[in-house]
Symmetry: C2
Subunit: 494 residues, 2 copies
């Protein structure tokens, strides 16, 4: 196979990204990333707007012991961590049993928040180019402060006003009875390893009427957003995820933006992969059959248990840790924020001790880009497995886990020559309940010559097939949705 | 609106069906139903085969008190009814809370059987006509004895041989690793009102190699099966359901069978409804958005509880009944069967005291047949609601339930003039755990002149839209799947 012409895809966003977590943080990169932006918000306008948002939305976070958090308590019997009001979320324990796979039993803390939040994106055409109304928003767990989020991110408590805080701007567009054209409206899972059966409602709503742009909001084109995916820690988890839910065919790609797409072989393979004309390696009936088969083969039972009973997890120095120090910690924080509805509060967050890896192997099959998807079990999934990236893990955890638990293809992905890397950027996960949880998003292209052992839990799929599945709940996990947006972005679509 | 030309659709199957439950039971009707059959199994061959199966597969069932069933016991603490081996299923209690809808809290017994069974259909072309390998099978709860079932109906205990019984014929076609072409492979729910989160794996597998036809099996065309849907209590629940999972477009309809489709206005509207050329009243994005909205609006919590604690349910004369005598009973039975792997056994079954109603309103919109689907909450559903027929109820229950709980459109459906009825046949539900559970399957056509108040839990959908959803789990419930097969059958498809 030939890699000719693929080098420039990596630089479509105007700058290289090497995944070094110290190198691309802050406003400089954000300013340079939009050099080719041609939407209603010009590059200088975006820079100024982001700077102003950063100046305006300050946040300060300090560590506190879990049992000293104001308004939060640790239940003496169960160990459950909860708020005095009964609102927000609790941290409980979960016990997972599966008669299949390398790890057949484990226990862990998990966030329980049985309500469906809204992740809403308002889209509108200006001069025939589709724009998205983005919000600059800071969260206490964010690495690097302000990030771009969809138009609305609201828990049920938020948008029903239980908080007693301000009304959520633009939320009425996403509520029942609104006059609107729905582009997408689907519940999608959150991080299944950290949240129990939690999903959010992703809504993309197309409007034609004038929309007042409030402070902290900005119209950006789909192409601009795709380019911003090359900037570390800027597009937040929900922005990446909702972008992946935007229906996208090769026709739509140009129709939506009026831009010419990048004319490299890899970019063409992405575009062909989005449409029916590029045939997928596996017929859709076989893809669905494989998912059904994996869901029937795995016999997962995930059951909430008292947090105190979660084996190998203990309170140490005011935080709950695994005995190995791996996986994550449940830690307490006190927060002071400039523009939040409540300016000062305390809360627990799940803290990642080290950088995670969400890696996707891609391959051109008959000129059509395919992604190698993993049907993966997570403790918090509603329906046994969802499609995950080829490799989704925290490499440091394997200092403690047995060698047999080492994920297939992880070593391949981490040892691949530099010239196979097509995308390599660090992004942040949710910042409201996770503290500095960050993952390296890596796309690596392999060819027919690369030996890739077959595995019953992995299949090659086209982007069109992923697009069909993403219209329904419980198929594509949050990490895979992020990578799907990144792969589209690689081809300069918008 | 005009009903001209629709009368003959009702008689496509060669005989009328008026839903009188005493009139069409037994072999005579089965013999007459295939008058126009042109598959590999001729009408006389089918008659002889079914007679022979009935003679061969005898079953005798006698009532026993629940606490006297051999090998079954009632747990003294919880009231759970279970088998000594821990296999088969248990009868437990369930408590349902929903903050939406007319009935916001109830408790009831429910079958708990946390394993995924196989409902497998082998299909093959003879002379270019698609045939299905059907099995004649008797179950203890069947009304009228032998019924037609898919090629394979097997619980996990069955096909893994835990029973110690005979190997399940043809099951290898439906197991991982088999060389085969998968037409459909999807988990679908069972009766959510009677079974807790139970689903089965529906597989349709296309073969080209020779298949030995064992005793009790028979090849029938899709058209023959559609015609047999007009015979009461003959096509069993799984046969109806798997038939509904067969992907069906207007093109495929003729290509599959080589038959000309019926040329009436109603039949044409069914055919147009199966294909993209007939536009649906509501775009698919709006249909998905509505389902998402209903799933978010309902806040259902269904939780297993000890059966002893199920309020209003008590043991009376050896069976568990609701204080009203409505809904269903949990009763005990002793069974003697001629050709079962175990010839004599006892078991509990859920018994329906009166006939249920599964009624579908249909309407031609722009010449395309639409079905009026209900997004319905049931205690046992995995994902809040599934699409159900317009009306799904047991009318006699409303002697006890309050008038506000009376289902919308029930009175309309039951009082409609005779000339609006397009299909009206009684079918049996599952006979392995339900005793004489039977429903009247009724399709009623309304026109633009009929006043039909709008309701937030109901939408008009085309058959193509239902076909898209049925490829995925948790969308279309078992009663709606039966009716979908019946509607296709109305148009003489196959």
């Amino acid at each position: 196979m030939s890699h000719s012409g693929t080098g420039d895809v990596r630089t479509l966003s105007g700058h290289p990204s090497n995944g070094n977590e110290d190198e691309f943080v802050g406003g400089q990169v954000a300013r340079s990333a939009l050099a080719r932006g041609e939407g209603m918000t010009s590059q200088p306008e975006f820079d100024d707007w982001l700077d102003a948002c950063r100046a305006d939305q300050t946040i300060r976070v300090e560590r506190r012991a879990l049992d000293e958090l104001e308004a939060w308590s640790v239940d003496p019997d169960t160990g459950t961590i909860g708020h005095a009001s009964g609102r927000f979320f609790t941290v409980e324990g979960v016990e997972v049993n599966n008669h299949h796979g390398p790890i057949q039993h484990w226990e862990q803390p998990i966030i329980n928040q049985p309500e469906v939040g809204i992740q809403g994106l308002l889209v509108k055409e200006f001069d025939g180019v589709l724009h998205c109304l983005m919000q600059a928003k800071v969260e206490p767990g964010n690495f690097g402060g302000v990030q771009l989020s969809p138009t609305v991110q609201a828990t049920r408590s938020n948008y029903t006003g239980v908080h007693g805080g301000r009304a959520v701007p633009y939320v009425s567009y996403f509520q029942a009875g609104a006059r609107r054209r729905v582009v997408c409206d689907v519940r999608q899972s959150e991080q299944g390893a950290w949240c129990y059966r939690k999903h959010n409602r992703y809504q993309i709503v197309h409007v034609t009427e004038p929309v007042e742009v409030l402070d902290g909001f900005c119209w950006l084109t789909v192409r601009q957003l795709h380019e911003l995916l090359a900037v570390p820690d800027l597009m937040n988890w929900a922005a990446r995820s909702v972008l992946a839910c935007l229906p996208f065919s090769a026709d739509a790609a140009t129709a939506l933006s009026g831009h010419e797409t990048a004319e490299t072989a890899l970019a063409r393979s992405v575009i062909r992969s989005l449409s029916a004309e590029g045939a997928a390696a596996l017929p859709m009936a076989e893809v669905l059959s494989w998912i059904t088969e994996v869901r029937c083969r795995n016999d997962v039972e995930a059951r909430l248990i008292p947090l105190r009973e979660a084996n190998l997890w203990t309170m140490r120095d005011g935080a709950i840790e695994h005995e190995s120090g791996c996986f994550f910690r449940v830690a307490g924080f006190e927060v002071w924020a400039g523009r939040r509805e409540v300016a000062h509060w305390s809360q627990p967050m799940l803290e990642a001790p080290s950088l995670g890896l969400n890696g996707l192997l891609v391959k051109r099959i008959n000129g059509v880009l395919h992604a190698y998807m993993h049907a993966r079990v997570e403790a918090g999934f509603v329906d046994v497995v969802e499609l995950a990236p080829t490799v989704q893990c925290t490499p440091d955890n394997y200092s403690w886990l047995s060698a047999t638990a080492r994920p297939p293809y992880m070593d391949l992905l981490l040892s691949v020559p530099e010239d196979r890397i097509r995308f390599d950027v660090i992004h942040s996960e949710e910042g409201g309940r996770f503290y500095h949880a960050r993952n390296r998003y890596l796309v690596v292209e392999v060819g027919d010559d690369d030996p890739l052992p077959e595995h019953e839990d992995y299949r090659w799929m086209s982007l069109q097939q992923l697009g069909i599945l993403i219209r329904h709940s419980h198929y594509v996990n949050v990490q895979a949705r992020s990578l799907l947006a990144c792969v589209r972005g690689m081809a300069g679509l918008g």
